[in-house]
Amino acid sequence: MYIERLRLKGFKSFGGSHDLPFSPGMTAVVGPNGSGKSNILDALAWVLGEGSPMKLRISRQQELLFQGTAASSAAKECDVILTLRDSDRVSTIRRTFSPDTGSVLFHDGQKIRLQDLDEVKRMLRLGGETFAFIGQGEVAETIRQRPLQRRMRLEVLF
């Protein structure tokens, strides 16, 4: 199972539409400070169900929407589509947000609730997926957890 492509629209600094195919092996994302690299990690975490404002580095849901620039207008909604491939099976997870509708999730075109997403992720063997999402400056944090916290994070993988 791997991420075949990520499509972003109006998500954080990614105004307009963007389409990123990923390698099933190693993809490196490089670029100057403030260019948008960590925003790509945020998009991947968000579409896979991440809900913590701290992890997403926002203080209001509104801050997920492209705020606009001198030349481009702000987005009214944001839309992230993840295409996952497992040998010949392909499935998509999609998440949109707008202030009117709130956040809406889809799996292969069907609307689902957030709690249904856990089941979908287990089917795709992505159960512990946010386990292996390490935010900037957090790599040493994995060893600074208290023993019980560490145990609980590990148990969810099995």
């Binding site: 195919p21 390698s23 490196a28 670029g31 960590s38 620039t69 292996a132 560490r150």
Partner: protein, 154 residues
Amino acid sequence: VGTLFGNALTDIAARFSDLFRHLLGGGEARLELLEGDSFWDSGVDIVARPPGKKMQSLAQLSGGEQSLTGISLLFACMEVAAVPLAVLDEVDAALDEYNLLRFAALAREYATRLQLIVMTHRRATMERADVLYGVTMSEPGLSQVVGINLEDWR
């Protein structure tokens, strides 16, 4: 402890110890299951000793040693739990040139079994990727992603 988790923990501990020794060129690392009176005082403790040094608390490890210990534990868990993908945002920032090369080689090796997406400023890591994306601001405030041809770049 449930046998499923108990067995997995033994496997994780074995891989963690191997990866730690591989990344730091020696030393030892262990996972210890603390069995308290109740569920709430039990947990998983980490013991890590860099090569040639005495046993000490995790807080005494240097910044780079903490990163390497965290990376070893992460890769050990991903392998044993068959986690198919990882997204790592500048996990190589605190590493010296020598440890950076060991990390980049490890990432290259693991990328044959699982998908890795890494954000980085370090050249040694970029050079070992299959696909390289450059993120820039096409106008201030608007991100743009362009594929970089690795052959040209190397």
